[in-house]
Assembly symmetry: C2
Homo-oligomer: 220 residues x 2
């Protein structure tokens, strides 16, 4: 068994490539044709993969599209993590991070996910596939956001502020769906960086900042 | 001409009722069948209106659905305005207002609008109808939010904070699409009320609050 591994490598490699091509073709397909036009056969053709090979990887179109959204979500979060080292130090870091986060849902990936989410609201099989995925991808985005902002959830109010940041990002993604909303978004990013700067604790500090205490108590 | 007015009233009244029934049936229809399943004929049947009468009011399904989204958007904002008098005074006012605003997009109206927005991203005729409507409804929601919060846009940072509030509300609407997100939303509402309380100027004051000045300058 151990001896057979080197010989199997190229085939595994080919299989991974096929899978990746199918996933990328799915997202393009959903974005152009919506959920109703996205079948395994259509995606296979677009990816230049035989229908049999496609069905070997993904039995149903629900399997295919959820895998596609998960894959692209992971790619996007990995890219985000890799950019951590490029972040400027000091005061301009927070605005750079907020800029990354609030632009997270303005691309083709979000557009495809939105098609699926809306279709799932009237399609039980798709909904059953997407709900656990939504939770998983959401948790992962939350973790990356905490990392980028350099804060910990143990500190009061941080969890809600980071959640609100990602919900705001999705709202901004929606506002960018039919027309280019980047100018308005830029001003909101600047404003929001200021809010987070004064409400989140200093990166790495164990104690919540003054503003967090103030804000957590303000509406009691 | 003046003498004919009383005689025409009942017919105008009937016409308005027919129109309203068509608009309400449209929203229900979009929510259940999506944009692809929503035709003037299907909506007319659901509303109990003849197809001819429906087409007298709305020539195309684009006309019908944009009128439906606009109508329901107006109804919702009117209801919001009417609730101003019920708002508690003093410190708990802000949390009550934020609760109203951040729950704005969690109902069937937003679900229907979302179906249309997503469909419009791959349908040029629908997009052309929706983009000006999106701008109009968005401006109106912004105006109502300013009114409820008792603040003026002339004050620095207010515009962006109110925009962010409505973008956040839409993001929360999205998060509520496939599963009940109300418990998580409640904590975000509480936190957001604290943020607005410390960043917006006092209702009715001409000068921006300290926190607004602080926050506007923080990320420079």
């Amino acid at each position: 068994m151990v001896l057979s591994t080197p010989a199997r490598e190229p085939q595994q490699e080919r299989s991974r490539t096929t899978r990746r091509r199918l996933l990328e073709a799915s997202v393009a397909c959903i974005g152009e044709l919506g959920w109703s036009g996205t079948t395994v056969a259509v995606v296979a053709q677009r990816a230049g993969v035989s229908r049999g090979a496609a069905q070997h990887h993904f039995r149903t179109r629900e399997d295919l599209v959820t895998a596609a959204v998960e894959y692209l979500g992971e790619v996007q979060l990995t890219q985000l993590r890799e950019r951590v080292d490029e972040l400027p130090p000091g005061e301009s870091r927070i605005e750079a991070v907020v800029d990354m986060l609030l632009n997270l849902y303005t691309g083709p990936m979000f557009r495809a996910a939105l098609h699926l989410w809306v279709a799932a609201s009237t399609d039980d099989a798709l909904r059953a596939a997407l709900v656990p995925l939504e939770a998983r991808v959401g948790r992962e985005a939350h973790r990356v956001a905490l990392e980028l902002l350099g804060v910990s959830e143990d500190q009061r109010g941080v969890r809600e502020m980071v959640q609100a940041t990602l919900d705001l990002a999705r709202g901004l993604g929606l506002a960018n769906l039919l027309s280019d909303d980047s100018r308005r978004r830029e001003r909101i990013i600047h404003q929001w960086a200021g809010v987070l700067d004064s409400t989140l604790p200093e990166p790495g500090s164990a104690e919540p900042g003054d503003a967090t205490r103030k804000i957590s108590g303000a509406a009691r």
